[in-house]
Subunit: 68 residues, 2 copies
């Protein structure tokens, strides 16, 4: 469940950037299919990859986990 | 660096519970040596294990990442 909630939050914030999954993944140097599966809540993502996403979204870790 | 910051934060909150590393790890059903290495900032911990720690500490994910 935490993986699903996290995926939704990432998707919400990524959409605000106006970037597609593909473009965002490219921006943060992450495999596109891996990133898509994170948004789908399918990955037990590691803290280093979470941090990479937070940086790409220009939010703190705290903001990324808001209301999760 | 994120791993080290996270480890420090976990240690800070775990100490507030008054529990030793060993007792806290037992409480959340996590291997004691694994938990010790998380506090030492040596583990690229996954979101599910981060969540397990947050629950054991009785804090939200947002609180766990406060000021990290």
């Amino acid at each position: 469940m935490i993986k699903v909630k996290f995926g939704h939050r990432v998707q919400e914030l990524r959409r605000k950037t106006g970037l597609s999954q593909e473009k965002f993944a490219l921006l943060i140097n992450m495999d596109r299919t891996y990133f898509a599966s994170v948004e789908s809540g399918k990955r037990n993502i590691s803290i280093e990859n979470i941090y990479k996403i937070a940086n790409g979204l220009n939010v703190t870790m705290e903001e990324l986990f808001r209301d999760i």
